[in-house]
């Protein structure tokens, strides 16, 4: 029997409705427009780096949201192994795919900042290398899924990779402290901020805008996953 999108949404309360999707979409567009104005016009130009420093306002939030996406994969993967419920696997794979898109944006924006500042696009610096490895881990996660036809085994195998792969996130975060690195260190730490207030505010607006973008893309991806599951079930009937 054919299912409508509403029926698919009702099967899993975690899947956002189309109205919620529109809300995240509108919030993303408005906050991104505010961010563009703040990042390119309102925030003061960095006295050392000049204009390329403004890349920071979209590079850093993309990285933070990639970490958030992979944290969601980590939590959902634990839930898969504990409960065996397929809805957690749907959430994990959706967040992993969105996280890969955010990591791709980080790996493109980083070299575009590095070229005018360091003189080279890429260096095998610990943070850059561990970020590249993170991208490969979650690409492998997505590739692995296409090689395991049985849904239950696919969920278990990818859950293990989703948990183990997350180990790379704290390595990336602490890499600038653990090793001597080219990549700039922390600009915001508890009790210590190495930036003017206007730059911090722009960064925070960026973080909010990219959070809305993540929620929008995750909702779309999750709806597609549920539709795909419904189609697969229908094919088996």
């Amino acid at each position: 029997m054919s299912q409508t999108i509403e029926q698919v949404e009702m099967q899993d309360p975690g899947v956002q409705g189309w109205r919620t999707q529109k809300l995240w979409g509108v919030l993303t567009l408005v906050s991104m427009a505010v961010l563009m104005y703040m990042a390119l016009v309102w925030a003061p130009e960095d006295s050392v780096q000049g204009a390329p420093q403004r890349i920071f306002y979209i590079h850093v939030p993309s990285a933070w949201i990639a970490f958030l996406a992979f944290f969601v994969v980590f939590v959902c993967s634990i839930a898969v192994l504990v409960t065996g419920d397929r809805k957690w696997d749907d959430r994990a794979v959706s967040s992993a795919e969105v996280g890969v898109v955010f990591t791709t944006a980080v790996l493109i924006s980083g070299p575009l900042w590095a070229k005018p500042i360091w003189g080279v696009y890429w260096s095998w610096d610990p943070r850059l290398t561990s970020s590249f490895i993170l991208w490969l881990i979650y690409l492998s996660y997505l590739a692995l899924r296409s090689y395991v036809p049985d849904p239950a085994r696919r969920a278990r195998f990818s859950a293990v990779l989703g948990i183990v792969g997350f180990v790379d996130v704290p390595i990336i975060y602490f890499s600038v402290r653990w090793w001597r690195a080219l990549h700039p260190g922390y600009v915001i730490q508890p009790g210590k901020v190495d930036m003017p207030g206007s730059m911090v505010l722009t960064l925070m607006v960026g973080l909010l805008a990219f959070t809305f973008l993540y929620l929008f893309l995750l909702g779309l991806r999750l709806q597609n996953q549920r539709l795909q599951n419904a189609n697969e079930r229908k094919g088996l009937e």
């Binding site: 054919s2 299912q3 999108i5 991104m32 563009m36 390119l40 204009a51 390329p52 403004r54 890349i55 979209i58 590079h59 993309s62 969105v98 898109v101 791709t104 944006a105 493109i108 924006s109 575009l112 900042w113 070229k115 005018p116 973008l213 929008f216 893309l217 779309l220 991806r221 709806q223 597609n224 539709l227 795909q228 419904a230 189609n231 229908k234």
Partner: protein
């Protein structure tokens, strides 16, 4: 300045392309569902 402009064009293109891909995929899945 060029690198700034390229970045502020490239990143939105990546995110918008992915959103468009998801919307097209959704349409395709809904069509498959209707056609059985």
């Amino acid at each position: 300045m060029n690198f700034l402009i390229i970045t502020y064009i490239a990143l939105p293109v990546i995110y918008i392309s992915y959103a468009v891909y998801l919307l097209n995929r959704r349409k395709q899945l809904q069509r498959e569902q209707r056609e059985g």
